[in-house]
Homo-oligomer: 192 residues x 2
């Protein structure tokens, strides 16, 4: 069984994007190396941001650490069974204001970009990323003592893909479903 599920594109994409998908079937025994972890964080670090404000922070927890279990505890019930198999969980945190209290208009937008860059580097490292919105940000803030201007926005489960069968009936069908997107015509409002 192939676990690579290429995007059906109207124009060929570079492999790192074309091969990217968001698995739930992580290998619960595989470990991410410190070098891989640093590489994906460097990718996030060098992502662009409005006026180079870099309004993004990261809580990084590898499987086996207390922090990993804490992040798992913030996840919605439906995400815990598969996310617990990831090699690392990274909480993406938006810095919503400057030290002077001025709002950063692009904090969440720029956090999204940074996680996207992290994802691309992860694929170059043989890893896959599945981002999770279903978690309790207030609980995460509390567990990691975040100031009010630091807002947890996503949790990225990062690891190595294993057979979908291990997921059991609840998730296996979703895991193997064909990827779908709106058409270009539906997302391009104007083109000239």
């Amino acid at each position: 069984m192939s676990t690579v599920r290429y995007a059906e594109t109207a124009h060929p994409l570079v492999d790192l994007l074309n091969e990217r998908w968001s698995p739930r079937s992580f290998d619960a025994t595989a470990e991410i190396s410190e070098a891989q972890l640093t590489a994906i964080l460097e990718a996030a670090r060098w992502a662009p941001s409005a006026a180079n404000f870099q309004p993004r922070r990261f809580i990084v927890a590898t499987r086996g650490s207390l922090a990993f279990d804490q992040v798992v505890s913030t996840l919605a019930e439906g995400n815990q069974p598969w996310a617990v198999r990831a090699s690392a969980l990274i909480v993406g945190v938006a810095v919503t204001t400057s030290p002077e209290g001025a709002a950063y208009r692009w904090a969440e937008y720029d956090l999204g970009q940074a996680i996207a860059h992290l994802t691309v580097q992860a694929h170059a490292e043989g890893l896959h990323v599945h981002q999770i919105g279903g978690f309790d940000p207030a609980m995460a803030s509390d567990l990691f003592s975040l100031d009010a201007h630091l807002v947890p926005v996503s949790v990225s489960a990062i690891g190595f893909v294993a057979d979908a069968e291990q997921l059991g009936d609840r998730f296996a069908a979703r895991e193997l479903a064909v990827r779908s997107r709106l058409t270009l015509d539906e997302i391009v409002l104007h083109r000239s």
Copy 2:
């Protein structure tokens, strides 16, 4: 003069990320092909999003079109002199609510991801991208008759890099400045 300004990374990044930067010195005569434009939009299209809601839309304008001049007119005065040289301008639009009016929590985050994927594909196509926050979103909404739930968030200037000298004194120094970022220690709140 080299116009490639590699990121100084603590760990090597894949070339498509390492070589990426945001120029102002676009070649005002170079044209983006329809195939290139489609490729970068496909990259945005296939980016991940929360629950696959895909809350992002794009206004695509190539230099020479009326829409291009309209997008230029929305830019802050400091961005117009260089952005007008880009081969294309793409307005990134967040879909902030569902058709039923429910807020999309990750609309801006997911738009940022889509533009990041577009940027990676652009580099694979020999293009560079410089995102702009300094523009008038209300003016853009008006010019392109956007419904209230569609919020313009960024304008991406996309084109081919030319010598920085053509920019003149006002921008050339900034163009050649060393790229900088916060350190990993500054952006990683916890790692274990």
